[in-house]
């Protein structure tokens, strides 16, 4: 055993984008809607070690989110391989649990779905609810939440069970300053407990604060991979 948390070897992800899904009339006539292949990742290779915190930067459409999703296994790689020590938890901005239910119920469902038993959930719920900092809004339905409030709740749920590998997709960008501080704190604790973080963000200050290493993606390829200061300096100069 080594201290590897994640190994990505020549990973490629190709989307097939069609103008629309093939409808029955297309299938009958034997023609498929015009398909366009998008090479979102074109062979990405890197290792992440246990306890490392890696920032991922790059312009829109450079494959950052695709890379995180492929790492969770939600997107299949078309070539190469992604191997992990344990299945990573993914935090995205758009993620919602159940809109119709209150924040508190969503926490409960999220914790139960992660395999905690009733007693553990009852025990953890107050502290997770507290951590979200949502106050009374925790008992309101999630459809009434702003994107920042969702992100808070989601971050609290996903980190409550301390997954070994945490993938964060801009989730912190929408929170306010107090929450930023709290979440940065929790990420520090997470890393202190040998947790691994991959953080996609356009907020370079945040990456400077939480990551010692940065991967710079451009058009699905790694441009640079190294210490935060060096890579960000090059990225900002570009």
């Amino acid at each position: 055993m080594t201290d590897l948390a994640l190994r990505c070897t020549g990973a490629e992800v190709t989307y097939t984008i069609r103008s629309h899904r093939p409808l029955i009339r297309d299938l009958l006539r034997g023609h498929r809607p015009a398909a366009q292949k998008i090479h979102a990742l074109r062979g990405v290779t890197f290792d992440v070690h246990v306890g490392e915190s890696v920032g991922v930067v790059g312009p829109n459409g450079s494959g950052k989110t695709t890379m995180l999703q492929a790492t969770t296994g939600l997107l299949p790689v078309s070539a190469g391989e992604i191997r992990v020590r344990s299945v990573p938890a993914f935090l995205g901005v758009q993620a919602v649990l159940r809109n119709q239910l209150t924040g508190r119920r969503n926490i409960e469902i999220g914790l139960l779905a992660q395999g905690l038993d009733r007693a553990a959930v009852d025990h953890l719920l107050p502290s997770v609810a507290e951590f979200t900092g949502l106050g009374d809004a925790i008992d309101m339905r999630m459809e009434t939440y702003s994107s920042g409030m969702r992100a808070r709740l989601h971050f609290a749920v996903a980190t409550a069970t301390s997954p070994e590998i945490l993938l964060i997709d801009e989730a912190l960008a929408v929170g306010d300053r107090t929450f930023h501080e709290k979440s940065a704190q929790r990420l520090d604790e997470h890393r202190a407990n040998a947790g691994t973080v991959l953080l996609v963000s356009h907020n370079l200050a945040e990456i400077r604060r939480s990551c010692e290493r940065v991967i710079w993606l451009q058009s699905g390829l790694i441009v640079a991979d190294g210490p935060t200061d060096e890579v960000l300096a090059a990225y900002e100069a570009s």
Binding site: T2, L74, A95, V96, G115, L116
Partner: protein
């Protein structure tokens, strides 16, 4: 340290993402989530009638009103002979037994597609979703069963030894419905068209399963009767009447009730699990 734990899958202790979980581990993961499977549907049942005046009373009022409508239409307005003695009892058992499976299967079809947020966020065995739907429907069947009991007893039927088979029958029908809902959940995720089609499939099944009339009364030929056993809904509807009020049934229906439950569950689970890694995918 020596343990009997299986060796890491490779020298670096990593495993490929998106690999399929071995059956044993998958079942264990489901077992770990038993609190989710029971607690979430119960809470949903409670919140279902949150915006009504009568609240939880609806769970029992709903089946009562249904029976009331049938009684009005078939007992008072057009009381014609349909080849059965007490038509209200006959109808009540048939309708509720049928609706139970219908609810499990059609709500189960939506169980995966309505939880995309959860699926894309958290890792858990996806069969948790149809399974917890099935548990919720089984619990909701409680008040319905109470109404069935009242109707049967009020009509002068007395409990017989056959009633001991009720848990077995309910269990078999639940397994069948769960299996079918695993199938519909997967295919509805693939093509949502299924969701639009299902109401019509059930409407058709409703008319060919002897819910409203006695198949026994109209179909004498043994071969034709055996053909009806190929329709699981007919099988369970008939079995309910046989168990509760001694309606006509043969060993064929009994065997079919067992066979449909086991085969559908195994096939449904296998088909659902084969799609495990596709649920929630964007590409």
């Amino acid at each position: 340290m020596t343990t009997n734990a299986p060796l890491p899958q490779s020298y670096d202790g990593l495993f490929p993402v998106g690999r399929s979980t071995p059956l044993g581990e998958y079942l264990r993961e489901l077992w770990v989530r038993r609190d989710y499977i029971v607690r979430v549907p119960l809470a949903e049942l409670r919140s279902q009638n949150a915006h009504t005046l009568l609240g939880g009373i609806w769970l029992i009022l709903n089946p009562l009103l249904q029976v009331g409508v049938y009684f009005l239409v078939f007992g008072v307005i057009m009381p014609i002979d349909r080849g059965v003695d007490s038509y209200l009892v006959f109808l009540t058992l048939g309708v509720f037994a049928f609706h139970y499976s219908q609810r499990v299967i059609s709500d189960g079809a939506r169980s995966v597609v309505s939880s995309m947020g959860l699926i894309r966020t958290l890792r858990f065995p996806r069969a948790t979703l149809p399974l917890s739907n099935s548990v919720g429907q089984a619990v909701a069947f409680g008040p319905v069963f109470a109404v069935m009991l009242v109707v049967v007893l009020a009509h002068g039927n007395v409990p017989t030894v056959r009633w001991l088979l009720l848990p077995v029958l309910f269990g078999l029908q639940t397994l069948f419905s769960l299996g079918a809902s695993l199938l519909t959940a997967r295919f509805n995720h693939l093509y949502r068209d299924l969701e639009n089609l299902l109401p019509f499939v059930f409407r058709l099944l409703f008319y060919v399963s002897g819910v409203l009339y006695s198949v026994d009364h109209y179909v004498d030929e043994a071969l034709l009767r055996a053909l009806f056993a190929l329709n699981p809904m007919y099988v369970y509807v008939t079995a309910w009447r046989w168990v509760m009020v001694g309606g006509p049934a043969t060993a064929v229906e009994g065997l079919a009730a067992v066979a449909w439950a086991l085969v559908t569950l195994v096939v449904g689970f296998a088909v659902f699990r084969a799609g495990e890694n596709t649920y929630g995918r964007t590409g």
